[in-house]
């Protein structure tokens, strides 16, 4: 397995060298992107790449972008990021949680390069910023829809890795499904990958075999949608709209819209106003969008989901509003209390009612 990873890494580096050689011109501001999947995944990486293209369009000749796909998370990413900087990048966006340590390690070596790490929380040096979207706001809306629509009362959830971002999504979706349907259960399968279409399809099938008639995914490919389509159940687009599976199985989706953030940050870096910060935006500022809800959803459910979406956007409703207990029954949030960002950012527990265990 190790040799495979090494191979992939050297493959990635080979691509990086080529990309770097092709754009050795140092004059325009060069922005690099490190992707965990391929730009053709129609999910997570696709949306980041849309953000990259928006940057290119916005700045024209003043900015040049390079990207590197399928970069393994972990230590190998360090070499890929370094290579990108040696190739002339002035700013690097590392777009997956697993790049957290490599990003900070490389940032310490290149104080003049700006680093933007998606979904992480470490900003060791003043040239690192972190950013993420409040995906859990979108999860609340689709959880609400799922709770209404499930007939078997089992919702299947394909998790990637048991990290706070994913656990938060599971909790949010479950709370809002339970809210409208007290009998609902949620089964979680961890795929231990962000992007492996075959593995994601298998995970979806396993959940369907276990009785799920709604599939949610926190992985990046459209493979679970295909399986859901075959089984005649419903699913939700993840990270990208996945509208090609509408009106069913995909009845709605959570879309990540990174373009405004990327443009703003590149602009700040170019005119010298950039500073290290943490950005966490949701439905309100438009970083998280809900894709069109199709006719497969009953009209009154569409209406109530839209209402919830608008309340979240307006800041009137927080998806984690008490009373909420932890899985073991101890109190977490009192009546009317709203979760603080610190707890949410490090969320490592399930809420009451979820029956599975978080693997460690």
């Amino acid at each position: 397995m190790k040799s495979i990873t090494k191979l992939l890494a050297s493959a990635a580096l080979a691509t990086a060298t080529l990309a770097g050689a092709a754009t050795a011109q140092d004059d325009p501001f060069q922005v690099g992107f490190i992707y965990v999947g391929s730009v053709g995944d129609l999910g997570w990486t696709y949306e980041h790449d849309q953000g990259r293209l928006a940057v290119e369009e916005h700045f024209g000749d003043a900015v040049e972008t390079v990207y590197l796909e399928n970069v393994p998370e972990g230590a190998d990413a360090e070499r890929a990021i370094t290579q990108m900087i040696l190739g002339g990048a002035d700013m690097v966006f590392t777009t997956s949680f697993g790049y957290m340590d490599p990003t900070n390690a490389v940032a310490a070596q290149f104080p003049d390069v700006y680093f933007e790490h998606a979904t992480g929380y470490r900003r060791d040096t003043p040239n690192v910023s972190t950013y993420s979207a409040r995906f859990y706001e979108g999860r609340a809306v689709i959880g609400h829809i799922a709770g209404h629509m499930t007939e078997s009362n089992i919702i299947g959830y394909i998790g990637s890795y048991p990290i706070p971002e994913v656990i938060r999504g599971i909790n949010s979706a479950f709370l809002h499904a339970r809210e409208v349907n007290p009998d609902v259960e949620m089964r979680v399968v961890w795929a231990y990958t962000w992007f492996d279409p075959a593995a994601e399809a298998d995970a979806a099938q396993a959940l369907i075999d276990a009785g799920a008639d709604v599939i949610m995914q926190h992985t990046d490919s459209t493979a679970p949608q295909t399986v859901a389509q075959e089984a005649g159940i419903i699913s939700f687009g993840q990270a990208s709209d996945m509208y090609q599976f509408a009106p069913a199985p995909r009845v709605a989706s959570i879309i990540d819209n990174w373009a405004p953030y990327y443009i703003a940050r590149v602009e700040a870096a170019m005119n010298g106003t950039w500073e290290s910060m943490d950005t966490w935006d949701g439905i309100g500022p438009g970083m998280v969008e809900i894709g069109e809800m199709t006719d497969a959803i009953p009209e009154e459910v569409r209406a109530s989901a839209t209402e919830m979406m608008e309340a979240i956007a307006a800041g009137e409703y927080h998806p984690f509003t008490g009373p909420i207990n932890r899985q073991d029954g101890t109190a977490w949030l009192a009546e009317g209390e709203v979760a603080d960002d610190g707890t949410l950012a490090g969320m490592d527990f399930y809420v009451e009612g979820l029956t599975g265990e978080i693997p460690n």
């Binding site: 961890w190 279409p197 298998d202 959940l207 075999d209 459209t222 493979a223 599975g356």
Partner: protein, 307 residues
């Protein structure tokens, strides 16, 4: 909450098919004394060519044939480089994988998200509804049955026919085979092409039947598992089948254990195929005579007729 064993068996067969096809092809290649590490590249090329053909022509049969053709075309490059130009097999194979991944991304532009035609199963749906045996025996795609037949055919040819004997002779000692008048290079090129066709078919199965979509990098390491599988099976066809179903079974089982909320160390289960492969490697290399019995003696060695 228990696990449906029938559903599990059906799933593991489907999960295993692409890897099984690639592995049985690679077994023949290695039996002829050639180590082709380009399986992943040939699979992904087969996946993209198969998918594109399926979308464009609407014919699954043509798609599978095209997938085989794609894998073969890539393996032909390997054959020319290693057999005629005598390049290093390990380096060429690795390059083939990188090339295949890049080429497939290029060929597949515009195809992600397209809908391929539905592949009809060879047996009527009524048969698949028979309790227990129905779904397991009659509920699969034609390619799945083909993969099992292929294992049987490879086993038979290698063990009982003159063709198999010649192929093995070439793989054990190319000098001796050459001295006997067998065309070592020609035989090896044919074996390499067969391996390419099998890997390509496995890739096409993945994109057209199992995922029904083209996504860049979708083989996600299946080709490497196929290579490990050949070693795990110590170059024996039926063991390849057993190994493929075992590896696939572990993958399918661990997902279902999770869905049933049965607490198991998932990471350990996930890693177990690799652990087993390492153990097998240690076992077969611990004893010189046993290793000599299994691994083709000329595996990976360059053959030059004048030497």
């Amino acid at each position: 909450m228990s696990i449906d064993l029938v559903a599990l068996t059906v799933a593991l067969i489907t999960v295993s098919t692409p890897v099984l096809l690639a592995a049985i092809g690679e077994l023949v290649v290695e039996k002829s004394g050639v180590l082709n590490l380009g399986v992943e590249g040939m699979m992904i090329t087969g996946a993209v060519v198969g998918f594109v053909t399926a979308v464009e022509t609407g014919s699954p049969t043509l798609a599978f044939l095209a997938g085989m053709g794609g894998g073969m075309a890539l393996s032909l490059i390997f054959a020319v480089l290693t057999q005629l130009l005598l390049s290093n097999q390990v380096a060429t194979g690795l390059a083939l994988t990188l090339f295949g991944l890049g080429l497939s991304a290029l060929l597949g532009v515009g195809y992600p998200g397209q809908t391929p035609p539905v592949v009809t199963d060879p047996f009527p749906a009524a048969l698949a509804e028979i309790l227990v045996v129905g779904p397991i025996l009659f509920g699969h795609s034609l390619v799945t049955y083909l993969s099992v037949l292929l294992v049987a055919a490879v086993w038979y040819v290698l063990a009982f026919t003159r063709t198999g004997l010649i192929l093995r002779a070439v793989g054990e000692s190319h000098e001796a085979a050459h001295a006997l008048g067998y065309k070592v290079v020609r035989i090896r090129i044919l074996a390499i092409l067969f391996g390419g066709a099998c890997a390509g078919l496995g890739g096409a199965f993945l994109s057209v039947v199992r995922v029904q979509n083209w996504i860049e990098g979708m083989t996600a390491g299946a080709g490497w598992i196929a290579l490990a599988l050949v070693v795990f099976a110590s170059w024996k066809p039926w063991r390849v089948l057993f190994g493929a179903y075992l590896f696939g079974g572990i993958a399918a089982l661990q997902l279902r254990l999770q869905a049933a909320e049965i607490g198991v160390p998932v990471a350990l289960l996930d890693a177990s195929p690799y652990l087993v492969t390492i153990i097998v490697l240690v076992l077969i290399s611990s004893d010189r005579s046993r290793a000599a019995l299994n691994a083709p003696a000329a595996l990976g060695r360059v053959f030059h007729a004048s030497s």
